[in-house]
């Protein structure tokens, strides 16, 4: 009996893994829907709106890919994944891509057999504390109780940081952001640590947001990237270049409002023409239609528009572009040329 259970699980794992084999693009087109793994609820990045439809910066990446591939940004099934299950779900073929604030690291890229195809947000791990605690630097946190999402790189960074500074702490491992938010706001931990963007998003949901501060220390590099499985290069190209199209669009001044006009006829700038498919056959090289980038940009706008609409300074999240500004404006966001 017990043996049966064991093999049953093996069987289930094997069957799911088997489904993941073939070309992802064909699978998505046949299904007519893109399965995209994202956060269950992280305001600004991926959270259901009042109608229960997932919205946010990460979800917008999925919508752009869906628009490029299927022509409809709403043909996305957002699969909410915990930090623990996300890579397994991707490897097993449960989702076609991950857009879930996942840090690009060496071992994930190599040992986990994943491909990180585009950094959609350059982040770093920060700390959030209540103002009333009177702490102004992470160096003063010796002996503190720290809420942390289990199974993330932040868990390892935290251990390294406290060790390097000769401090001790008491970890409270929690399974997702919602749980951590609840424990932190009830005071069960002094500090909540995760990516600084996540902290800002979490703080925005508090009724007393001004009572919480983000400490100045950023203790790690967290390039949050779009992820696909190893082994399907065509699909990796599609996700990578859809993201690059959004970046290039911002760089060239193509927005969701003027893209139709610009795509109507070839303009003066050949790179815009190549991007929007009025010149050359760039789409066909990836197995997509001519106007794939037009659809991707129309889905929500270029990179800058998506940033401002979901997490920018005018939203409750209130993140500034910082490292995520275009390279032309002193940031790190840089797309290879469309040529």
């Amino acid at each position: 009996m017990k043996k049966t259970v064991l093999f049953g699980t093996l069987a289930a794992a094997a069957v799911v893994a088997g489904a993941a084999g073939a070309g992802t693009l064909e699978d998505v087109i046949a299904r007519g829907e893109l399965n995209c793994g994202s956060n269950a609820g992280l305001a600004g990045f991926s959270a259901p709106d009042a109608n229960g439809v997932y919205q946010g910066f990460d979800v917008a990446m999925c919508r752009a890919v869906a628009a490029a591939v299927l022509g409809d940004p709403m043909k996305v099934k957002v699969v909410p994944l915990s930090s623990e299950t996300r890579f397994t779900a991707l490897s097993a073929g449960e989702v076609d891509m991950l857009s879930r604030t996942s840090t690009w690291t060496y071992s994930r890229d190599t040992d986990l057999k994943l491909d990180f195809v585009g950094v959609n947000y350059y982040d770093g791990q920060g700390f959030m504390v209540k103002k009333s605690l009177g702490v102004s630097s992470a160096k003063e946190l010796d002996g503190a109780t720290v809420c942390i999402q289990t199974g993330t790189t932040t868990e390892l960074n935290l251990a390294d940081y406290f060790k390097a500074n000769g401090m001790t702490y008491e970890p409270v491992p929690l399974k997702d952001n919602a749980e951590a938010e609840q424990q932190y706001s009830s005071g069960a931990c002094d500090v909540y640590t995760t990516d600084a963007s996540g902290l800002a998003a979490t703080r925005a949901t508090f009724a007393d947001a001004s009572e919480h501060v983000l400490l100045p220390e950023i203790i790690s590099k967290e390039p949050l990237a779009l992820v696909v499985r190893h082994g399907d290069d065509q699909w990796a190209d599609i996700v990578r270049w859809t993201f690059n199209a959004l970046l290039t669009a911002e760089e060239l001044g193509v927005t969701s409002t003027n893209v139709d006009e610009m795509a109507a006829a070839p303009g003066l700038n050949p790179e815009i023409n190549r991007l929007l498919g009025t010149e050359g056959e760039l789409g066909a090289m990836m197995g997509l239609s001519k106007d794939w980038a037009v659809k991707a940009i129309k889905a929500g706008g270029n990179y800058g528009e998506l940033f401002e609409a979901n997490i920018g300074a005018s939203t409750p999240i209130g993140l500034s572009r910082g490292l995520n500004a275009l390279w032309t404006q002193g940031g790190l966001q840089y797309s290879p040329p469309f040529r």
Binding site: L10, A14, S83, S107, K113, A144, E155, L158, S186
Partner: protein, 417 residues
Amino acid sequence: MSTAIEAPTTSFRLGMLIYDTRYRSLTIQVVFLVILVAFFVWLVDNTVHNLSLQGKDFDFGFLFVRAGYDINQTLVEYTNDSTHGRALVVGLLNTLFLAFLSCILATIIGLIAGVLRLSKNWIVSRLISVYIEIVRNVPVVLWIVLVNAIMSQSMPEPKDFRGETPAASMILFDSVAVTNRGVYVPAPLFDRGLGSLELGMFSVSLDLLAIIAVIIASVWGYRRVQASATRVQHATGVRPVTWWKSVLIITLPIVALKFALGFHLAYPELKGFNFNGGLQARNSLIAMWIALSVYSATYIAENVRAGVMAISRGQTEAALALGLRSSMALRLVVLPQALRVIVPPLISQYLSITKNTSLAIAVGYMDLRSTLGGITMNQTGREMESMLLLMGIYLTISLIISSLMNVYNRSIALKER
């Protein structure tokens, strides 16, 4: 005249495998076995094939790599420099610790609730019925989350204990602090401790071993005194007074040991962000322990009730007629027989408590599932290896518990001579 029916002389034909009742069942069994084996071979082959397609190998080497993460509750020495294998051991011990505590508390609550449900007092028996029906018809994970939420939301923060007129204060003569981060209790310390015994990977406290040894010796001595008193009673008809001997034997050695080791308590004190100096029972442990115990106790209560009701009333009446007091009748006549009915289902309750500890991730208790099956699996990406290891370990624990309980069951079972 011979009436014997001659055995059919026709030679064996292939069709007989189906039409001849002598062979049919054998045929079916063989066919079924072949299908079953083929199915398993296909499963394993498919798994291996798909793993290699994904470019993944099957390797337990990750267990010897530095883990890099911290665990809050560690029963043995562990730092983030330890290996994943050691994190596994820490998680395993946390699982066993929780299972042990829960089994004990569940048995106590279950026993009391089961007996009370049989009470002739209408209110008491109804109240217990309501408890049992409500608690066991709600999934246990909800109780776990509920207890955790109560602990973290409604208990005072450590900083509330600070200041001239603190909002909260410690209880039991300032020795125990109940906070929203757990319960801090005094920790036993030894001025002249014996150090610890290094057993390869682990170090075992010699103080603890000494205490256990003294307690065992005391109990043994107590039983010797009782046995000799019984012998005297059998020989002379008068039971000698033994209570002062018993008190001495039970208390004197442990008190002497306490002084020899320089035993004292370290009280929790508020320092910096948290209480320090005592032992901390974290919210996650308390939530798991209370919820699992209260939940499983409802099943045990029903087992106990069934066991007691299985003993015919005649047994009690006969015992009372012989002049036993009702408490003695329960202890000497009813319970020993009832145990035979209670113990087998109790085994499965202990097993399900142990397996239910794997719900610990819901409140962030660092059990085996959260260390090996959570952080380690996530950081190393070895899902298949971790899960198989996890299943193997739970299976082993369950089999050990069930064989131990079966030994106990045999010792109390009806002895047939």
